[in-house]
């Protein structure tokens, strides 16, 4: 892969919490406009990997390079890096004391220094695009889970990030609300957003991802195009994982 086409390069990433080794040497290269889905059991390290890329968790060893800049180097301004890498969490984490509009404009105004009017225009445009314009003055607790999660995605997009990290964004939603959030992500993928998506929605992953990475015990055990991973996985552990998903009726 040409270096200009690389959005993120992760090399030899290690991360431990106390004595628990969560990531044990992750190597992964994400191309511009590529959508990669991370699958694997709970505790396999998917969330931690995403949190490391956003620098919420400091890494123990290895490096992460984003658009040619090593973001894990000493002395890097983490706030500047995070502005160009959006992350959306399983639990939405909207700010409950702010309206939807204020949730979205806070960071563009305070972190990017955008004038209030410009930030609001940008926010309203995004809300319009994702069918949330009429919710702009509501507080988060007035919204359904699906709406909250869409607002959280809009909040991340308002920073105009180059890369989006989605951490099991539908796992906390009631089943009937999952589709509206997945549709938003599909639209982002079609628009060419580079995305790293940790998910349990296998059908969705098969649909949207160019590549699937199966994480097991802190390493990428197997990766490949969805057709291959889902129909003919090489590794026994991948087979077992997919088998259990099928048995649970989730594929």
């Amino acid at each position: 892969m040409n270096d200009d086409d690389v959005a993120v390069r992760i090399e030899g990433l290690h991360k431990s919490f106390e004595r628990l080794e969560v990531l044990r040497g992750i190597d992964l290269t994400v191309a511009e406009h590529e959508v990669i889905c991370l699958i694997g059991a709970s505790g396999s390290g998917k969330s931690t990997l995403l949190r490391c890329v956003n620098l919420i968790e400091p890494v123990d060893a290895g490096r992460i390079v984003v658009h040619g800049e090593e973001i894990t180097a000493r002395g890097v301004d983490v706030n500047r890096i995070r502005r160009s890498i959006g992350i959306v969490f399983q639990a939405f984490n909207l700010f409950p004391h702010m309206t939807v509009l204020r949730n979205i404009t806070l960071a563009p105004i305070e972190a990017l220094g955008l004038p209030k009017r410009e930030a609001e225009e940008r926010a309203l445009e995004l809300l319009e695009r994702f069918g949330l314009a009429d919710k702009k003055d509501d507080f988060p607790d007035r919204l359904s889970g699906g709406q909250q999660q869409r607002v959280a995605i809009v909040r991340a997009l308002a920073m105009q990030p180059d890369i989006m990290l989605l951490d099991e964004v539908t796992s906390a939603l009631d089943p009937e609300l999952v589709a509206e959030v997945l549709n938003v992500i599909r639209e982002l993928a079609q628009a060419g957003m580079t995305m790293l998506i940790a998910t349990h929605e296998m059908g969705f992953a098969r649909d949207i991802a160019k590549r699937i990475c199966f994480l097991d015990a802190g390493v990428i055990l197997e990766e490949g195009p969805p057709e291959q991973i889902f129909s003919a996985p090489h590794e026994a552990r991948t087979q077992r994982f997919l088998q259990s998903i099928i048995e649970a009726g989730r594929m």
């Binding site: 956003n54 919420i56 706030n79 500047r80 890096i81 995070r82 502005r83 959006g86 992350i87 969490f89 399983q90 639990a91 939405f92 984490n93 909207l94 700010f95 409950p96 004391h97 806070l106 960071a107 305070e110 972190a111 990017l112 507080f139 988060p140 607790d141 889970g145 909250q148 909040r155 991340a156 920073m159 906390a172 009631d174």
Partner: protein
């Protein structure tokens, strides 16, 4: 479904045994429990209240020395004569209270933020904040008032105010900030870490995520206990009486007591304080009840 910010929004909870919290149930709950029992319940409550208070009054009034006590403490004429002047002096207490409160709210927030700074670099700052709160919560407020009001002016430093009332107010600020800082800290710690993480993930600095996301939520949660400290502070403005020459309400009461050889003026002071503190206390109760209702509504969603 998780509300608002996701995660578990753990609100600042009052423990029944917490001495710093309003003791009883709120009025609305007392009335509410009566309503639930119906007309019969109300009748029983009225009768038992009348009986209890009649017995208390009879016992006091029939005590051997009641006429003398009545004359010394409940002299209606003296009350009428001294109350207006005491009420006028009480304006001073209110002014001490308001000035102190503004500085306490600001300084205590600084202390709380100092104490919640993470990482080894800020260890000395955390230690300073901890030592401060331990010190000023551990010393009786009256001692701090005495030490500052008599100690600092006698240093004779140029440019430093010599007015004991000034230093009395400073003492109240220093002392109460230690308590209020702990209230703030409890509020800050009750905001789920995922809120700060979400703010930081958007590229907001540590300070800005504290300022826009964590502190506003923390302060909202601790408004009832903060008001509770207001009530305490309002009462403790009387401590300044012990160091000043120009009287506020309590000092005025003492002066009248000494000239008239009668305790009734002090009763007038007590009434004056109650006029302010009882409405404040009811307000706290009402806020606590409202917060509890909201919390329960949130949990049911």
């Amino acid at each position: 479904m998780a509300s608002g910010g996701g995660g578990a929004p753990e609100l600042y909870q009052y423990q029944p045994g917490d001495p710093r919290l309003p003791g009883g149930r709120s009025t609305s709950r007392i009335v509410g429990s009566l309503r639930a029992e119906g007309a019969k319940g109300v009748a029983i409550a009225v009768v038992s209240t009348v009986v209890v208070f009649t017995v208390i009054v009879l016992v006091v009034v029939n005590s051997p020395n009641w006429p003398a006590v009545k004359e010394a403490f409940f002299n209606g004429e003296i009350f009428r004569d001294t109350f207006p002047e005491i009420a006028r002096k009480f304006i001073k207490n209110i002014r001490y209270f308001l000035i102190a409160e503004v500085f306490i709210l600001a300084w205590a927030l600084v202390l709380a933020v100092m104490r919640s700074l993470p990482g080894p670099v800020f260890f000395p700052i955390r230690i300073m904040s901890i030592v401060y709160t331990d010190l000023f919560r551990g010393i009786p407020t009256i001692l701090v008032v005495y030490l500052l009001a008599f100690g600092v002016p006698s240093l004779d430093l140029p440019g430093v105010p010599k007015d004991p009332a000034f230093w009395g107010v400073v003492a109240l600020i220093l002392s109460y900030s230690a308590y209020v800082a702990e209230v703030y800290r409890a509020g800050i710690e009750s905001v789920h870490p995922s809120q700060a993480a979400a703010a930081r993930s958007l590229g907001l600095s540590r300070w800005k995520s504290l300022r826009f996301v964590v502190i506003p939520q923390a302060v909202r949660r601790v408004i009832p206990p903060l008001l509770n400290d207001f009530v305490g502070l309002q009462k403790d403005t009387a401590l300044i009486a012990f160091v000043v020459a120009i009287p506020e309400a309590f000092k005025m009461g003492q002066i009248e007591q000494n000239t008239l050889f009668n305790f009734t003026p002090l009763l007038a002071v007590a009434v004056m304080f109650l006029i302010v503190t009882i409405p404040l206390t009811r307000l706290v109760d009402w806020l606590v009840a409202r917060q509890r209702r909201r919390q329960m509504a949130g949990g049911a969603l």
